[in-house]
Amino acid sequence: MKKPVQTYSAISESTNFHERRSLWHRIKLAARKSPYTARFGVVVIVLYVLVALFAPLLAPYGEAEVFPAAYEPWSSTYIFGTDQIGRDIFSRMIYGARNTVGIAVATTVLSFLIGGSLGLAAAIDRRWIDQILSRSVDVLMAIPSLIFALVLLSIFGSTVLNLIIIIAILDATRVFRLTRSVAINVVVMDYVEAARLRGEGISWIMRREILPNILPPLIAEFGLRFCFVFLTIAALSFLGVGIQPPTADWGSMVRENANLLQFAQYDLRSGLTPLLPAAAIALLTVAVNFVVDWFLHKTSGLRDEQ
């Protein structure tokens, strides 16, 4: 038998190796290649965050400051005019950023904490915990969120805290479903079994094996859930059962000034006033959707045909 010819060496096998770039470098690269929609989205989001953070510095007047001039048209004193009680709409718009967006962020974070941890627990213990949680979530999701929220708010009253808790719990059901399905895909991997065989504890497995591998879809979902929560809270406020006056909130501002719309044919700008808070809501949601869309495209590695 001839001596086998050495054409093989483990080190020189062809691989996908490329120089790993630092996080900062990768962010710069991604930014350069991003589509205009995503860039637009990021700019808008940053703008909103800044306005929300620096609201007291930016607003010319107070949030609930009343002037003896109701329904003033747009002018140099009151940029967007005043509302039905005589409060400056421009200032309330700025404070609205802080309130509406802030409450929406808090609610989304809470829903992720609840839904995410329960989803992980259900994925890891596939027997009792999973069955109980999944069935309960199925039942909770059988009632449309808005309706359920209306029922609960009618009982407990519409305080900011109630709003945050109720919406967070209702939304946590969706987060639960997603986290569970994504985590289950990871839990069945051999490397999780290898960790189990070693005798690693549950928290180690969750932290080091599962969590890093489910982050991309969770981050995308955070964006989407934020949009949903944001729109729901705005809708509830618009209906009058969400954030209550005198807190400045975009949803209720639309309702308060809705009848100005009829005057559009006489004074267009006054007619536009109720649309301003609504447009503010729409703009942020569009921006977040654009960014999430781009993020999903990048992380799923989908190849569109050339």
Binding site: T37, P144, V151, E305
Partner: protein
């Protein structure tokens, strides 16, 4: 027994269980009212006796599970309780049956929803399928951008923009959709053009995107590539190969969006002051008229569950693995 039948019955049973669980939740919610709500409803001037009589009428002296059964049996008989509004501290009771309140409102909402569904479903399916087929063309990209923006808008925003351009500025259409039982059909349709348009725009955006995603997913299946390689034309691939496997995902998309319609209707009714069940519920929530809230919530939940059930059943009866078992 044929597996399809078995699976369908199983699914129906599950639906029934869910309905029961949901009704328990809705019922239990009233349990969580603070103890003195009787006082709140009747007003500060109500005497202790009046409040006690009120509580007796509501059966609050009986244990919860008995009350639940009373309520459920009442529901099946069409009795959803009596509204809280119209009750005075004096004990005078001008309250109305919840069922009487809901009845006509439900009809109106179904009318609105029905017209919307009739228009939006075919349109959304057509858009979704064509954009999936001509993926990444200018047509697809522009429709995608347009719908991505539309789904980000709150319904009231879309509604008010339409009102601005089609009503306030141009006076073409009425901005209030107040109809009642006497309004003739033609007038009704005229009044609801704007609400229907609003709902249609919102629903189409969602439905079209989901349909597109489902079809693209389907077109990526290996048997589609195989069909291409055996010489099938694009049309044949869509109709003969993709479509038979598309019923389940499309049914799910439609059901999901019709359920979404059920919710979207609430905001639209409020904006256009349309006398539907959505507006009734919102008013009841504002006045904390619990029986009405309960009744409306129950109806919404039933509709939602029913729609999902239909989608599941369609998915089951079109599944070739269940239709032709080993």
């Amino acid at each position: 027994m044929h597996p399809v039948l078995g699976t369908v019955l199983q699914r129906l049973g599950l639906g029934l269980l869910t309905l029961i669980a949901v009704s328990i939740i809705i019922f239990t919610s009233i349990e969580m009212l603070p103890g003195d709500f009787g006082q709140v409803v009747l007003g500060q001037a109500a005497t202790k006796d009046t409040v006690a009589a009120f509580r007796l009428e509501l059966g609050l002296d009986k244990p919860p599970h008995l009350r639940y059964f009373d309520w459920i049996i009442g529901v099946f008989q069409g009795d959803l309780g009596t509204s809280f509004s119209g009750r005075a501290a004096s004990g005078q009771d001008r309250s109305r049956e919840v069922a009487d309140l809901i009845g006509p409102r439900l009809q109106n909402t179904l009318f609105l929803g029905g017209i919307t569904a009739l228009i939006s479903v075919p349109l959304a399916l057509a858009l979704g399928i064509t954009t999936a087929l001509y993926r990444n063309s200018i047509y697809d990209r522009s429709v995608n951008a347009a719908t991505l923006t539309t789904i980000s808008f709150p319904e009231f925003f879309v509604a008010y923009i339409l009102i601005l351009f089609l009503s306030s500025l141009t006076q073409w259409l009425p901005s209030l959709a107040n109809v009642d039982s006497d309004t003739p059909l033609a007038e009704r349709l005229h009044r609801i053009v704007l609400p229907v348009l609003t709902l249609t725009l919102v629903i189409i955006a969602h439905m079209m995107r989901m349909t597109r995603a489902a079809i693209i997913n389907l077109l990526a299946s290996p048997y589609i590539q195989m069909a291409r390689l055996s010489g099938a034309s694009q049309t044949e691939i869509i109709i003969k190969h993709a479509l038979p496997n598309a019923w389940a995902p499309i049914a799910t998309v439609i059901a999901f969006n019709l359920a979404y319609l059920v919710v979207g209707v609430v905001v639209v009714e409020v904006v256009f002051v349309y006398p539907g069940i959505g507006q009734l519920m919102v008013d009841a929530v504002t006045t904390r008229d619990i029986p009405v809230v309960q009744g409306c919530a129950l109806i919404f939940a039933v509709t939602y569950i029913l729609l999902n059930l239909i989608a599941d059943v369609i998915g089951i009866i079109t599944n070739p693995r269940l239709l032709h078992p080993k």
